[in-house]
Homo-oligomer: 110 residues x 2
DNA sequence: CTTTCGTATCGATGACCTTCGATACATTGA
DNA sequence: TCAATGTATCGAAGGTCATCGATACGAAAG
């Protein structure tokens, strides 16, 4: 999968790159998904299965699965099966990309 | 206005902070608004009036005004009137906050 | 093979969001 | 005062999203 990482501050971002980058930001622009990322990052070993997320989030299993799918399609988490469970993990490289998009070259406010 | 800046990686983000942070990320999670931020950052002096954005975005004046309102309410841009025009400018401190939320303390991926 | 448990998908519902034309407001200039 | 220009708001239309119950899939256990 190819990720866009055109910074917002270098020249003017073109429409295609904006669409791609906005997808990742929109994926994080939901309270539930932000908490999922936080829960995964705080989990022992940096990973957790979906069933461990339902209770702290207070959401149904289909809803949690839906959000995990959005995060997966945005490249923000990965999941690999381990027997009956699927262990999810944050993709830190992807977060690095997003941070870089929002980083000014030197200083922006004049 | 009080901004939340609880990092995703320090412990588990609570629901209230997640809602607040998600608002800013959702504001940036739209291609049009991402381009607006980019256009403002690239503008001479780091600011531009709303009327200068309609043409490069290819959107109507009410639509541009709507997106500027979303960005303003998310604390990502500020606008002050200058005669008939309102000059908008990126709030770099707010972007710093968002970047920090997504920054791991040391390393996350085990 | 059947049951059990974790996960993914489907379909429906209600809320939200983007977009626009029409319109009102604000400021400047004639 | 009146016209012109930039901006904000309103109302509506269309699409997208979050959420759930029901259901199907996958893997392990009995």
């Amino acid at each position: 999968m190819e990720f866009c990482c055109t910074p917002v501050f270098e020249g003017v971002i073109d429409a295609a790159d904006a669409v791609e980058t906005a997808k990742a930001l929109a994926a994080l622009g939901d309270p539930v998904r932000l908490r999922i990322v936080s829960l995964l990052a705080a989990a022992p070993g940096g990973s957790a299965c979906g069933c461990e997320l339902e209770s702290p989030l207070g959401l149904s299993q289909p809803t949690v699965s839906h959000h995990l799918r959005v995060l997966r399609e945005a490249g923000l988490v990965t999941g690999h099966r381990e027997g009956r469970w699927v262990h999810y993990r944050v993709v830190s490289d992807r977060l690095d990309d997003i941070r870089q998009v929002l980083t000014p070259p030197v200083a922006v406010g004049v």
